[in-house]
């Protein structure tokens, strides 16, 4: 029983980690919490849904397409709206991205209606020894692990990644070193949206989607960042896995309604006891 819980927790935790890494990147580089992160994930989910049901493409092949589409959406969003509030007081950036998120959710309701939609693919589970592993969740884990790994490779080993980390440490110094900070902001926002889109695409195969699915993801991604320590990118990984485990353990003891509360209580408790996160503050 416990083994099953740990496995399920890690499976869903990888997904949390990947989505939260996007939010953490934007926060680290631009000092903005993007409230529209979850709704962008929702758009990624719908992209996969329509590609796989209307055009009949294998849903897992649509993951890169969703990521590319949302990368473009993220870039447009940054270039038209978000860059205007990067240096503004926090109130402005929070309200602006909140406004964007409301607009996106309601636009989706208008275009796609509020009906629950699901992608039927790879149903059932693989039985390994005493454990039953839901097929879609295992595939999502593999995708999320690979994509998160690629993101860390990009951050750690490429010139672009170095520039992103530099901007996140100090924008002024990065600028002095000749880094085009505006471009880094643009790319970071695009990458973060693509990570959210990948999450949405994978979720669409696991559970039914609807326009309001995004809000919870903004909240949970933020919780993951807080768990791992804000501005600490590897922390997002640990935070994601932790949240996955905690939710699974909680669902053992509590009813479904109350297990939704667990994430919230956890956030308030962490802020009370250890506001810098479990791994400590910024270190990139």
């Amino acid at each position: 029983m416990l083994g099953q819980v740990v496995i399920s927790g890690i499976l869903s935790g990888a997904l949390y980690a990947m989505v939260a890494l996007g939010l953490a990147l934007i926060f680290g580089v631009m000092r903005i919490i993007n409230v529209a992160h979850g709704p962008l994930l929702m758009l990624g989910a719908y992209t996969t849904y329509f590609l796989s049901t209307v055009l009949d493409v294998n849903p897992y092949l649509t993951v890169p397409v969703s990521m590319a589409v949302l990368f473009a959406v993220g870039v447009v969003l940054e270039r038209t709206l978000v860059f205007r509030v990067v240096d503004a007081p926090e109130l402005s950036s929070l309200l602006l991205t909140f406004g964007v998120s409301i607009a996106l959710v309601n636009l989706a309701q208008l275009l796609f209606t509020s009906d629950l939609r699901s992608v039927e693919y790879l149903t059932g589970a693989w039985v390994v020894g005493p454990f039953a592993l839901s097929k879609t969740r295992v595939v999502a884990f593999v995708f999320a692990g690979t994509l998160t790994g690629l993101a860390f490779l990009l951050l750690g080993w490429t010139k672009l990644g170095k520039a992103i980390r530099a901007t996140s440490q100090s924008r002024e110094v990065a600028m002095v070193c000749g880094i085009d900070v505006q471009r880094i902001h643009l790319v970071t926002f695009g990458l973060a949206s693509a990570l959210a889109a990948a999450g949405g695409a994978l979720i669409a195969v696991i559970v039914a989607i609807q326009p309001e699915m995004g809000q919870t993801w903004t909240f949970k991604s933020f919780l993951v960042i807080v768990l791992g320590g804000a501005g600490n990118y590897p922390g997002a990984l640990l935070g994601g896995i932790l949240l996955g485990l905690i939710e699974q353990v909680a669902s053992l003891f509590l009813t479904t309604q109350l297990s939704e509360v667990v994430a919230y209580v956890l956030l308030v408790a962490i802020l009370l006891v250890r506001p810098t996160g479990l791994l400590g503050g910024r270190q990139t």
């Binding site: 919490i33 709206l81 509030v85 909140f98 964007v100 933020f222 939704e260 919230y264 802020l271």
Partner: protein
């Protein structure tokens, strides 16, 4: 008459007219005005925390809902009179604000905003879980009682109190400290302001009004359910009202509440799906194009005092 006299006489005249209004008005007129009062309470309260300290509350409707449930449970299960229950609704909202505000407002940055973003869903889940007390998804019916007119007066009084409170705060040292936090929190700390405590006080004050309004609305409608008292749309509407009217001002939320409510009744009621979309666009537009809102622009252009 000097400007100061006008500034006092005009609101007094409006208040008198509104006090006499139920005697001549239709049922619809009283209900609509009651709604305007409610929106003034909600928008004015949001302004106390977010407009004055700059800390954005994305879940203020949680206090409305908490007040509604606290009041409704007392009225239906314990047989309390509605006025007392409404006051307890306000107290319940303050207690909730203390629980959330104490950990989250000690920190700078977006923690508070995101915590408030999640609060609504949590309360909804709790209401569904404690089914015996709250009726769960089936809702909670109150004993029949036609009290619209007395509720009209109490809601009106609450609205006046919120406006007066905002005026008192803005003209006080306490208010100046809050606005210092908004403009530069590090500087405020350097000047010796206990920022965490000031933010918390502002937050507690901002929870009372919505709590009372929630309980009053529960009594007036006679029936509440999770969807009707915890809609995200209510928070969005409050935010749009304050941003449009002018955040951090006394009359901005009032202006926003009246203008938006009337527009909503006249125009947008016909296009129920377009208007939330439009609200998102309005928030974006106001933040980028006129961050001070209508009243803020007038204040600068005509050199009006900041107590307007």
């Amino acid at each position: 008459m000097s400007g100061r006299h006008v500034a006092l006489a005009a609101p007094a005249a409006v208040a008198l007219a509104l006090a006499a209004y139920p005697a001549v008005a239709s049922g619809y007129g009283v209900r609509a005005t009651l709604q305007v009062f409610m929106w003034i309470v909600l928008a004015g309260s949001w302004n106390l925390i977010s407009g004055l300290t700059g800390y954005v509350s994305f879940g203020h409707v949680a206090f409305f809902g908490a007040g509604a449930y606290a009041g409704a449970i007392l009225m239906s299960k314990a047989g309390w009179p509605w006025l007392a229950a409404a006051l307890v609704g306000g107290v319940a909202a303050v207690v909730l604000a203390l629980v959330i505000g104490y950990p989250c407002l000690r920190l700078k940055g977006p923690y508070f905003a995101i915590a408030m973003l999640g609060l609504n869903e949590v309360l909804r889940a709790l209401v569904s879980y404690f089914e015996g007390l709250t009726g769960g998804g089936n809702g909670l019916s109150l004993p029949t009682l036609d009290a619209t007119i007395p509720i009209y007066y109490v809601m009106g009084l609450t609205a006046v109190t919120v406006i007066a409170l905002t005026y008192l705060i803005i003209t006080s040292r306490f208010g100046l400290r809050l606005m210092t936090i908004r403009e530069d929190e590090v500087a405020a700390e350097a000047m010796g302001i206990d920022t965490a405590r000031h933010k918390l006080y502002a937050f507690l004050l901002s929870a009372v009004g919505p709590g009372i309004a929630g309980a009053l609305t529960a009594r007036d409608q006679g029936y509440i359910e999770p969807i009707s008292v915890f809609p995200l749309a209510t928070t969005i509407t409050m935010i749009v009202m304050v941003l449009f009217g002018g955040k951090g001002t006394v009359w901005g939320p009032v202006l926003g509440a009246v203008v938006l409510f009337v527009t909503q009744e006249v125009v947008w009621a016909r296009y129920p799906y377009v208007h939330p979309l439009l609200f998102g666009a309005i928030i974006v537009a106001v933040v980028l194009l006129m961050p001070r809102g209508v009243l803020g622009i007038l204040q600068i252009r005509y050199r009006l005092p900041r107590t307007i």
